[in-house]
Symmetry: C2
Subunit: 664 residues, 2 copies
């Protein structure tokens, strides 16, 4: 068999990977050794990229969904000439502080499009990128936005449920610029894939409406032809590449150990002999490196032509394109919320919490066409479709994605959209189902992506559907997540303030938590200041004397705290109500402010229709709490609040008990 | 068309459901009205059940995976004569305290096999039940265990990723006694399924190796024939039943509103006219009721014969069968752990935490053949296969299920196993991936099922794989879950004590959390008492005087606290170390014990390589904490512990800082 002229380039990936993994004493050789030819075919002939401009907005996106095979990506970035991924970085693979970490970590300026590792997330992110591309293409036209999304994918990503969620919806939406390159090596960490799967995976894609090509993954020409075919298809493409895991290392290739068994110098030596690679460790011959470097340069002209086309856009259109790609909000956007906020304190605004959020979002959608809303088959009860129309196979201009009952995909899609840029992703479902999305939410937080998670039906207040649908621990579990703002507004005024904050928060995700039931106004007058911006504030100071009691509450329970305060004050007990819509922002305030709000020398009672877990941070172990003792129960909301003793009377009793005890 | 003789029986379901839903003012009519004929076919001709003995061990299991259609199940239980589901209960549908809750809630004695509602869980539970049946069948033979598992399923369950995980693995394992009845009504909450799916779902099952039959779901005879065919198949069966959602109510049938739009008296009346049902609300004519009641009686003889066969078993075999079905542990089981515990304090026991757990589990497996271990493609790094062999399509005697990279299914499978009974389900993966399992874990906790979740790689101690694989918030999020014991042992002695507790804990799930890295003994001598049983205890009391400082730690950080204590004591600061392997058990102790352990008048410092969230319960807001500030980083474990300043020196410094401050 004649060797393909690019074969040495693939071997360069192979040996850089082996050398780095031997040096690191651990790593996953399976992917870079198995997919070296696949990656070479993609980068040499097809990929639209510019290593000198890693964040070129119209670049093709590449996701390494099998993120444990990170050396594949680092090799590609180094070989094609991304500035920050130097040979020194490659040598420092898996060391503390290296860009070449165990798993790729989101850093678009380095060439890393998304953090991957937890399986299935990456292909769902790629799906989200393809959705964002299609939407932006519809907005700005082929001249400005027209690129493809590729994902390297292993068996694990396709076993995970989120993988099927993606396959199903991508096929349905006919996302034809999305291409998966499947490393069909028939080995997972446990050994042969036949231990746990026997279906024809390619057929599963065909059933979902994908264009599928099956090739020898070590045949560069065959992969390249398949990539051509993918570019010509009107459906998303799956290129099933039959490969040998760990190819090139005699001891482990095609074996379970090919996945991630420790490699030694002897293995590197044996591979050099087998593949006739005479070069020293980490030595890529100049001619090979030069060829690799030429691939990125291939796109220089394209990039320049694209820049010229952007320059040539009408000024307003160009400004809009640049604005959304930079993630900037339109100037004056907050004005659209002003009339709403001005009347938010009026009693007739006592709608269901989620409907308040829906009304605000409808206003925002009018001035921010970059907002895309995904919802998991709860359009009617969450009401966030507003004036949007659906994003479909035939209409890419729609900003509302009917995700079906696929919460996990929805969250990971939002991450892909946010990583792509140019759109602001919202993800809407019931709070009880946030657990389905949680692995994706963790990735948003880890990457610091500005995804807006919107949750409805936030407590036992949902009523008769019962404990499966009643979150009691979920506020706590979300608050436990680093780099996630969790906001639970008490009424329409707080809701609009929180949305204002959420839209401006760009360093990480936000969870916006809303009641199903009506939220009567607790803020009784219009104030220009965004009081929620400090995370917590004194809603009502004690009136009948120096503050003895501080009631702390969030969301629907703020009204209840206010009612309790009225009873306590009437009894001559000076009581303040503190609203804490966002703990994370409150904790960022200075000590003096926090102490003043919390009233540390007073009796404190927390009120939230949820578990106490986490509240001791504000209450101390001896503070009082009125909330849930465990899971909920089926029944109407008012009955349940009484049953679980979450009432103004209970708050009053708890405050009195502590006042008598005198321990605070 | 001649009406099938059982058609009035199906209409009895339909009208009971309509009447109950009208009365409740809310509910989901789509399922009971669409699946009335399907259910009638199943119960009339095929199901092996005995309403007089709801928990008959060899009954067929029925799961309503589309749990929002709960009225279907309540009708079936009432009509066939389950004692506790009376007509009064049916009338009280969705009221507080009713057995007929919004969603079915686990109560086998009532006839409710499992709690359902969150979509996809139910069919995965059914899968677990079928696995348990197959395993018990292999253990005890066809005469003793030989029943089928049926699940009603809607579109949502099949859109959820967990649905595909189940389809894939059930097909692979050829679980031929598992049958799904799919309500193919082409409508979801959002409207037509074509909004979000266009694949041929039946074909997806065929690709996965299922036996698929497509029938008219309103044709009782066709469904019955399909059930016959399923019973004859050597593969799991999916009966795709084309149905009309909300069938019988002219205003909503076949429409989006058929799913759960509010129904009124007028609708009930219109349905009565359409279907020529002259009977009053909640009135089931005696002849129809009598026919329904006869179905359960059909199995009386079978049940008695089965009882006779059990009676006729050799005494030892019968005792063993009854023991495992009752969920009792074998007498003297703890003795197998004794030699391990006696030597657990010896320094050579300083293995990796997860390997310690593996060694204990290998001992337990020797005396408890009812233990079944599921693992999500991490056999080697978690090492819990021990001496077990694999449960496969050809060998049902294996107690180790290679779940593939399907964590969510794995957790829900464990729930199904536990709900089935006769097996003890373990579910093994990395702690970072517990989020994938979390929706199933929540169901374990809600149902109070004794599933053992085993987690490895519990902190930054896993090293170079980086933050995607490093849990920092997950201990907190698990501790936030009601009715879940979370145990994080510090060394081999604590590990064996915690496993002892976990095996005895039957009222809910347990999360067993283990380090990857070595856990040197912190318990330096053998003690017969299970000290972990109180959840927390003084490991080392202060020595150089009255206790001034209390260091509280869990897991791998207990050793670190001990090192800090040595430094503090050497400096004359009287310091105790408290180990808190299980917060939930500790919180159940009496106040005096807790106060004595926590040393409330001392300076307290918590130490855990995780976030502080939740710790203020023990530390107060002013206590000290040495742990993680946020997500982790890639790098070797020792480097990371230093980088994040989780060291004995940091603990000492924190204690000194607080001592100087004097605020505690």
């Amino acid at each position: 068999m004649n060797e393909h002229p690019l074969q040495p380039l693939a071997h360069a990936i192979r040996f850089l990977s082996i050398d780095a993994i031997v040096r690191a004493t651990e790593g996953h050789q399976g992917v870079p050794l198995g997919m070296a030819e696949i990656a070479t075919a993609l980068y040499a002939r097809h990929l639209r990229f510019n290593p000198a401009a890693p964040t070129w907005w119209d670049r093709d996106r590449v996701v390494l969904s099998n993120g444990h095979g990170s050396m594949l990506l680092y090799c590609l970035l180094y070989l094609t000439g991304y500035e920050h991924i130097t040979l020194e970085q490659v040598r420092s693979f898996r060391e503390f502080g290296s860009h070449c970490a165990g798993h790729p970590e989101y850093a678009p300026e380095l060439g890393i499009e998304v953090t991957t590792g937890p399986l299935g997330q990456g292909i769902a992110n790629a799906f989200g990128m393809a959705v964002a591309e299609a939407y932006l293409n519809a907005r700005f036209g082929d001249d400005i936005v027209n690129h493809r999304t590729y994902a390297f994918v292993g068996d694990g990503c396709l076993q995970e449920g989120i993988g099927q969620e993606m396959i199903s919806l991508a096929g349905h939406l006919r996302l034809h610029k999305l291409t998966l390159l499947w490393d069909d090596n028939q080995i997972t960490d446990d050994g042969k894939t036949e231990l746990s799967i026997s279906e024809n995976v390619a057929e599963r894609f065909r059933v979902a409406g994908w264009h599928v090509v099956e090739v020898d993954g070590h045949d560069i020409q065959a992969v390249s032809r398949a990539l051509d075919a993918a570019q010509g298809s009107d459906r998303p493409s799956m290129i099933a590449c039959r490969t040998v895991i760990g190819r090139g290392i005699p001891r482990v290739q095609g074996q379970r150990g090919g996945h991630s068994a420790r490699l030694y110098e002897d293995d590197a030596q044996a591979a050099r002999e087998l593949l006739q690679w005479p070069h020293a460790p980490f030595d890529v011959p100049q001619d090979i490196l030069a060829q690799w470097r030429s691939f990125g340069q291939r796109n220089d002209a394209q990039h320049q032509q694209w820049q010229a086309r952007v320059q040539a856009l009408p000024a307003a259109q160009r400004a809009e394109f640049e604005r959304v790609m930079r993630g900037e909000l339109p100037s004056g956007w907050q004005e659209v919320l002003l009339p709403f906020k001005r009347s938010a304190h009026e009693p007739e605004q006592a709608q269901g919490g989620i409907l308040i959020s829906a009304a605000i979002n409808k206003l925002l959608a009018e001035v921010m066409p970059e907002r895309m809303v995904g919802c998991a088959d709860l359009e009617a009860p969450t009401a966030h479709k507003g004036g949007l129309h659906a994003f479909t196979a035939d209409d890419r201009s729609g900003a509302y994605v009917h995700c079906g009952v696929r919460e996990h995909l929805m969250g990971a899609m939002a991450n892909g959209m946010a990583a792509h840029g140019g759109v602001i992703a919202l993800s809407v479902t019931y709070l009880a189902f946030s657990d389905y999305e949680r692995p994706a939410m963790r990735m948003s937080a880890l990457m610091g992506l500005p995804v807006k998670y919107v949750f409805s039906h936030d407590s036992i207040g949902i009523g008769k559907n019962g404990p499966t649908h009643q979150p009691v621990e979920i506020l706590a579990s979300l608050r436990a997540m680093p780099n996630m703002l969790v906001m639970r507004p008490a009424d329409a005024t707080e809701a609009v303030e929180c949305w204002e904050i959420a839209m401006q928060h760009r360093s990480g995700p936000v969870s916006m938590v809303f009641a199903r039931q009506a939220l009567p106004p607790v803020r009784r007058q219009y104030e220009a200041e965004n009081r929620c911006a400090r995370g917590g504030y004194v809603l009502h100071e004690a009136q009948c004397g120096a503050r003895q009691v501080t009631l702390l509450a969030t969301g629907s329970e703020v009204a209840l705290a206010c009612a309790a305060r009225a009873q306590l004050e009437a009894a001559g007990i000076a009581t303040a109500v503190v609203s804490l819509p966002c703990w994370e922002l409150f904790d960022q305030q200075d000590t003096a402010y926090r102490q003043q709000v919390l009233g540390e020398q007073t009796v404190r009672v927390g009120v939230e229709a949820a578990l106490r877990f986490g509240w001791d941070h504000y209450l101390g172990a001896r503070g009082g709490f009125v909330g849930m003792p465990g899971f909920g129960a089926p029944g109407p909301a008012d009955v349940l609040y009484r049953h679980f003793n979450i009432t103004a009377e209970a708050v009053v009793a708890e405050a009195r008990r502590l006042l008598v005890q005198g321990t605070h």
